[in-house]
């Protein structure tokens, strides 16, 4: 085999291997949240009324808006891959920026939501919180813990997409070699996927 041929084969292998590795990593992320979903379901089962009351205190509209925002951002990141496949660097970068902006809007909404709860004293340690029924307290604990951890993932995902943009601009990501961008997008879809479950569990079930 000539040298260039070996290189092409190895390069192809590298690409497949890194995508494979990304999928494995996503498994671990799912299991990380899986532990929390398990805790949620057990406590929900044990405290059904309290959880229903807790759920009715969350603002369904902000939750729904955030769901739409994240779904749209998944669309834009998927489109950015099509753009790079068609060698349209400019469009790819624009779409990636749209994704990041949507992520920021999501976080701003989250900020308003949390700061409202902060004002009414609905967080661990306050007098209001201590007087809640035990189950409702658990509901809000899980709410903060799970949406908080999800929020951290949104931030990480947005930073990752920032690196993708840098690499597209540097010409390291091209229509021939866009596995890094694909991995970034996969991660972003995971962030989206987890929210799809968080939204009904906390906001919709009353």
């Amino acid at each position: 085999m000539s040298d260039t041929a070996t290189h092409i084969v190895e390069h192809h292998l590298d690409e497949q291997a890194s995508k494979f590795g990304m999928w494995l990593f996503l498994f671990t992320e799912l299991l990380l949240f899986g532990g929390l979903f398990l805790v949620y379901s057990i406590y929900r089962y044990l405290n059904q009324d309290d959880f229903a009351r807790g759920g009715s205190e969350l603002d369904m509209y902000i939750g729904a808006i955030n769901t739409v925002i994240l779904l749209t951002s998944s669309l834009s990141v998927a489109m950015s891959i099509t753009a790079i496949q068609k060698n349209n660097k400019r469009m790819a970068v624009i779409l990636l920026w749209i994704t990041i902006v949507l992520a920021l809007v999501f976080l701003v909404n989250k900020y308003f939501e949390w700061s409202h709860k902060y004002h009414v004293g609905l967080y661990p340690g306050t007098e209001t919180f201590r007087t809640l029924p035990a189950g409702e307290g658990l509901f809000f604990l899980l709410y903060y813990f799970m949406t908080g951890l999800h929020g951290v993932h949104v931030i990480i995902g947005a930073i990752l997409l920032g690196f993708v943009i840098e690499r597209v601009l540097d010409g390291k990501i091209t229509s021939e070699n866009y596995v890094f961008q694909e991995n970034g997008a996969l991660y972003w879809h995971l962030v989206d996927l987890i929210w799809i479950y968080l939204f009904p569990l906390f906001y919709l079930i009353h």
């Binding site: 291997a17 590795g21 299991l31 532990g35 307290g137 813990f145």
Partner: protein, 534 residues
Amino acid sequence: MSEVTHHKSFLENSEGKNVVLSWLFSTDHKRIGLIYLYLIGIFFIVAVFFGFLMRLELIAPGKDIMDPQLYNGLFTVHGVIMIFLFIIPGIPAVFGNLMLPIMIGAKDVAFPRLNLLSLWIYIIGAMLALTTLMGADKLPDTGWTFYAPYSIKSNTYVMQAVLAAFILGFSSILTGLNFITTIHWLRAPGMSWFKMPLFSWALYATAWIQLLATPVVGITLLMIAAERYLGIGLFDPSLGGDPILYQHLFWIYSHPAVYIMVLPAMGIVSEILPVFARRRIFGYNAMAVTSLAIAFIGYLVWGHHMFTSGMSGPARIIFSFLTFLVAVPSAIKVFNWVTTLYKGSIDLKPPMLYVLAFIFNFMIGGLTGLVNGALATDVHVHDTYFIVGHFHYVMFGGTGFSFFAAMYYWFPKIYGRMYDIKWANIGFWIIFVGFNILYFPMFIVGMMGMPRRYYDYLPEFHWPNIVSTVGSWILIVGIVIMLVNIIRGSMKGPKVGQNPWRGLTLEWQTQTPPITENFEQIPSVTERPYEYKD
């Protein structure tokens, strides 16, 4: 034909950089493996020393050399260091890194930089774990299991230990991810799945457990941390939480984790046994498949740690049944090892001695495990020294011995030198005898009813404890002999050639010590790895 070029070995090839930095930031899997070996070796010695102190306290009833608080601290840090810093990363991080890519004919792991990141995450986690040692009265005192609600209330350095375990978990996940990808994509031409060395099969099964079980304990430990920082009540019953739920979540990881500890050890046994018996391994396919079976069934048995914690009858019966089920693939392995020896020409070199001792110890550890797995007997021996004996027979007598076997086996490959075989054998016998004197009395005293985790005991438990403590001294003498021999051998031992054990796997078919890229030319494989014909 291109002429044969002689590249420098990985020990010498610093690629023109500063020697220290070229080691610390090397992405070469062999250098990373060696750094792991040195760090893990140091942590092992530290934790052995804690164990020695505990045994010394137990030499007689009443207070001998320490107060109860210090004793609680010592058994916790002994457990935390041994489990999270030595035995979980142990064989995969050291020998997996050193040998896996060479054994499957690859130049490196699939993600060399990620591998370096795993090492650094390990170092950070280890440093955090070591901060718990500052101040004898502040040692974490919950046991390595961090059971809630005490782990939330104890005002010792539990937090650092919990976060260290969390961080070390990431190192383990990334190593597992790397190995799975490496085995899937980087096998040499001709090496089909069922032509892989059995050590790679074992690492493959282990890596899946690392990947799929570790995140669960990660999130659980994070919940403990949140509970301590924020005073939220996920597991504390006084705040509405459920401590039994913590135990479930903890063991959902930590039972599979014992297979993270023991599966690679079994892989090493399957690797060494054919070489020193000059025989093809008996039942290669069964060996490969049982590794996966153990990994799979191992997921479903965590409840047997909690038979006395409060679980429904049917749940206990199912968990007990599954526990017996996992003994089947383990037993298949033992039968196959013994059958491999049949009519072999057995050469009792140090690696072989340790492997044979593994089989002996593992049988005692495995069979006593069934006593714990049966519901009625478990109620009697639960939380007694019987469990301590069982656990150490499997973990130290099994995985620990196999770690030593691997060290003696691959030592000449890594350093290009040989240790003193006579002293290695003497060290082995002292370790083997000391080990059994140390841990066997624990079965007896456990059956008599002595509970674990106390610094004091009733006078009728006195004699087995004296025997046990004397055993710990013998064991330590053996370990010192082994260490001196290994360190001397790595610096002054006589040089050896490419294949001192006449092994057939790929790591013996390349230069000693291997070059940075492992092979001058990527080999191609045509037959299974253990076709000994002499």
